[in-house]
Symmetry: D4
Subunit: 204 residues, 8 copies
């Protein structure tokens, strides 16, 4: 049962050479291949070997072949609490775009300065699905979850220190969110959040 | 921004008297009220005070007023790995039905006997959204997630012992699922899984 | 270095007899004695032996002697996310009152329904110190912390289930709060939160 | 609701370039900007680009513009158990000074050599608020908390090894302190401790 | 290699009947048998079957046969932080006495009221070995450890709630104690602490 | 009681020089010596000093002397969920071969794409013992365990991120496996899995 | 792929009625059915309804129909460290016997009195497979594992208190055992240990 | 109350310059100063500045001034399970020697090859106090503890991987040791183990 989404390579732990090898096989059969978790210097080596790729530095994503046009009617809003959450959010954003979604970025609207969030609420509410990326207290999930009626994918990030335990505090906050309609993916799993959101957005 | 779903009372930690009080207020304004986490003896007291309620024993749910008719075109499949996961799955099922969804129950198809799962795969694939309830190893999420292209809500249960740590093993399995399109709710949170699934199913 | 506050007995793990014994010693020297963590049936036994006590059932607190009049100019606002947090909040409230503070109760204004919180923001902002009691996601601390400029004492409660881990999720949220000016006490430590708030309120 | 405190940039995870950019925007509107978590070599790059900054190496803090004069009547005592806790204490001290507080440093008075602590008790007691920074056993909070009647902000540090778990042992000690009037901030959060102390000190 | 100490039965999880059976075997060969972890009602049953036993209710210990006379020159001081730690301390005290040690009890001298501790310091310093029983913050180990030059056995108790995690906070404090000469036994292991102390005291 | 297996050196934490020294002693007495956990550059130094060694780069294993011929009638199947698990699986494979076993490698058949697993099921079922190496969700153990009747050694790997906690999620999944006949070794312990499998395979 | 072993019912969490129902279905098709985790009073109810069952009280196991005769040539040794581990060991023993194995019980030979273990070593070494059940320190696995060359299944039990964390200390000891040829099952999983041992013993 | 032991500097986290500074102050007043946790290159810098020091590379210890002669009648045996535990054991050994103790080293006698341990038992039993250093399963503490009647200080090391969790598995094994007379220090705390042992050895 094919999902119809482009093939994806998880770049972490693979060498540039290995990735080039996999791309060369896949690009014969696929119009578009997505590689995630590709750091800057690894990307440089891959780009040298396969020029027809586009590298998204902040997202650490690399797209081989034609970047797909948005084909969904509705959009996915990707919201972050802080600026440090943006790399994870960008992994989600590039993934969602590669999967044919319209994407609306709403960054740095954490609940400790809730007026910034309210200023963007209309934009958020126009989306079909909402991804909420937050580290530290992860409280964004509960606040936005309570303000919208769409599906919310909570995306905990590993941003924080001390008793944050590399994202555990945000993960637990989100799993225990008092707001309804919130489900959660793994810490820093921008790709997974986008995948879930895409499946929901496809139905609209 | 109203979701349009019936009001819900979380029964755990509230006395029968308190619940009767809340129901009496809500039932004036709402055609249907759902109470979750109501044990058998607490339910008996409430039923005595408010006869027009229906009690679902296995789900530990109590519905006040008219049980809504299914209004969605598509259905939610609620799948369990074992028979011990059924109470949590039933909380999800009754919630989903109260929220107007068609529900398909597929119980006891854990991956350790994978042929039972395959026998039900057609039924599962006909649903719009799939809830997977599993305790212990929680492996159902990865297997079914890989076999379907719909949204999957993984619902870890606290069934197990020893290094299960009251549901933690299943929760972690599901958060780390290799299958795409799987998001997760809190341990034993049947209500939350159904809520998420309902929001997705509404769009179809 | 005396704090000037009434003596307190921590009732948990002490028998009614033992508590009566301690009270009988203390009440000779102290105009007012506070006992915390006294369940209903234990309280009944103590009240029988020492009639001049007042029992606060929800707070599980028992005050021996004259309840002090409020002597602070400013007040302490005690805010809860849910109704289940009220017993812990009441332990804080009764303690604060016994310590001579004016207390403002603002209950059930959790962030998943943020409009209820905003409706009470003026009341909260009039206080000198704010205690925020929340379980589950503990997100109240971050939202209110960002909306006020006073001292905030975050009081995690053990309300929740599953990956709440008896209050750990709320505790971690609060320790990692993005809002400034928030410090934290132990899970369910209403007494401690009130003590900290009293010391701050005394200075005003 | 403005707090009146200088803007702060959390330097960790931001490049020198990014920080220079943010400073350049903020310094137009703010007489003083504080940057925390700036290592030595990152600081050198920033100082090159913006000469009018002062770098506090041990505190890893960088202050842009005019260092504020102390404006509070009372002071904040910042106490450490060991010498290794000093960097975290200095983050607290510089923050408190930037926020206009008088600061009294009392370093290396851990409870394993309690006479050193008693020698400094008078100094500590003259402060309005006390920050206690300690790693390893974190026992300083309980001892000092019992000896003073002011507000105590306990600041666990990540100093230690083995079952210290990067500060968890000190954090738990402080959350479970038997001394009254002690509240806690995140591990190594010198900035947060100073912020809380400033808000309390402002009232005096 | 015999230690020369009386045989001990760990009573927890054994029925009164089983214990009576074991005692009946052992008392033929041993002048004195110690049973620990015997609750009040189980003790009553054993006393009925074997009258020549002495039951120490607070210690939950039962001694069969002749209680040994103190044979050591020096003594073991058993110190507690609070009154709730006394049952664990009494398990240690009775064990130490059964093993022929002189025992000095110094109870309720927790560091949050350090003057009570100093009032007893002379008594503590006259002992050969010191057992420190404390729950919650466990800070007693660091303070006393720094004030004495003898061997200190730290005995964490499970007294506390919330982030105490049934004794983990005290255990970690003690393992990370900054004071030298402190070693640690399991949570609530009064028997083990006394055993270690006896071996050391035997050498003097 | 000799096992009859070649001596093994655990290379991690030993310098090239130290390993050369140990090999030089052992190779006098043993026809074959296995060194595990030898990185590429350490291996290069050892090969320079002792030319008669064979280095297995992916397995990080180094075999001194004659590689043993397979002597078992039956074989051990070594199965991985992903390609990232291959290094751990290769440590198991080389160990098993050094111990005289026939080895069947079946890599990259994770349950999220279960058809790839079914395609290899015949090969797996022909083995006498099966090692299942998987990280992330570790679900392979439950699925394969349910499909075969031989002994299964589950080998969790540390592949994953976030709430994987360096292999803990896979370890817990495997310990809680609903499939029967599955036992587990430490995270990344390819050597140990192969040892256990060899002992079982010897009996056939 | 049938294993050929009798059907098993996991009794925990099922009512006597439910179990009677399942037995009545299974006993038509199976000569022998094993039910585990059946407490004394639940067993009494089942025995009343289905007289042809045999109840093993210490093992909490109930066997329906003909108890199988031992059919294996070799035996399984089931060894415990203490007497408190016997119930878990008996679950393993009864399971192994129901699966047709000869079973050798060697109880109460924990390593703290290692001479008792050595006295039984010959008996242990005559077995084909060894199950080692231990709680608390779980050290039996390392000692026996080093003394025998057969397969060892380590079975951690939840016996202990304090930092035992309900069996976690024994589980970790066993997973980290320095002895070779040791694999591990879940805490208290006597059934699982016996299943693994049976599969190995079948091959001999 | 002076212990009479040389001053110690904890070298970790201090620069060579800082350590030289502290040494220069202390060496005026003390005949001998011990510095622990000094890596090779840091040691080289210190030796350059202060030639009259002796560096113990494996122990990572540096002794300033005259190395004390053994002054105790009895000795401390320092026993390790593996060769990887030797650095921690050497920190203990050098500390004990600097504190005037005779030290007996018995290395690499882990319980997985228990005959090596028995071969050394006489040597171990001649000591007054025994330090047992072990990582991974930490089982040495239980076995040796059961074989000797002296005081045993268990010293868990961080040697291991996977579910060893940097020494936690050995720490828990030791805290839960079934052998009597065993107390425990922090993971890798060779200094602390030696300190405790010295205090006990002084009494003999
Ligand atoms: N609810 C509470 N939570 C935490 N600490 C408390 C509480 N109530 C009282 N205490 C503290 O416990 C002390 C009395 O302890 P005790 O002597 O055991 O009764 C008081 O002085 C307070 O410091
Ligand atoms: N050392 C620190 N620890 C924790 N929070 C800090 C620290 N320094 C600054 N902050 C917070 O981080 C905010 C700025 O974050 P950012 O916008 O990412 O630079 C400030 O407003 C403070 O609330
Ligand atoms: N990769 C491995 N993981 C775990 N244990 C191993 C590994 N390789 C070897 N060993 C064990 O380590 C022992 C040798 O340890 P050593 O004497 O420190 O080299 C061998 O006999 C094996 O029991
Ligand atoms: N390796 C060690 N592990 C733990 N504590 C140590 C160690 N070495 C020295 N210490 C302690 O650290 C103290 C010195 O700390 P400092 O003043 O930071 O150098 C000594 O007096 C010892 O109590
Ligand atoms: Mg919502
Ligand atoms: Mg799918
Ligand atoms: Mg604020
Ligand atoms: Mg105080
Ligand atoms: Mg001392
Ligand atoms: Mg199987
Ligand atoms: Mg062996
Ligand atoms: Mg002993």
């Amino acid at each position: 049962q094919r999902t119809g989404y482009p093939e994806t390579i998880f770049g972490s732990g693979k060498s540039a050479n290995q990735i080039v090898g996999i791309i060369n096989v896949l690009k014969e059969q696929e119009p578009c291949v997505l590689c995630t978790r590709i750091g800057k210097s690894k990307a440089a080596k891959i780009v040298k070997a396969i020029p027809a790729v586009h590298y998204f530095e902040e997202a650490k994503c690399l797209v081989v072949g034609q970047m797909p046009k948005p084909i969904t009617r509705g959009s996915i809003a990707i919201v972050t609490a802080g600026t440090s959450d943006i790399p994870v959010a960008e992994e989600a954003a590039v993934t969602a775009e590669v999967f044919g979604n319209r994407v609306e970025r709403v960054f740095d609207v954490g609940v400790a300065g809730i007026q910034r969030l309210f200023a963007k609420l209309d934009v958020i509410r126009q989306a079909n699905v909402i991804i909420l990326a937050a580290g530290m207290d992860g409280a964004l999930a509960s606040v936005v979850g309570g303000l919208v009626s769409q599906s919310v994918i909570a995306l905990p990030t590993s941003i924080g220190y001390g008793s944050n335990f590399h994202g555990v505090s945000a993960l637990l906050t989100m799993l225990n969110s008092c707001a309804e309609g919130v489900s959660v993916v793994n810490i820093d799993n921008g790709f997974g959040a986008a995948y879930c959101a895409s499946v929901i957005n496809r139905n609209n």
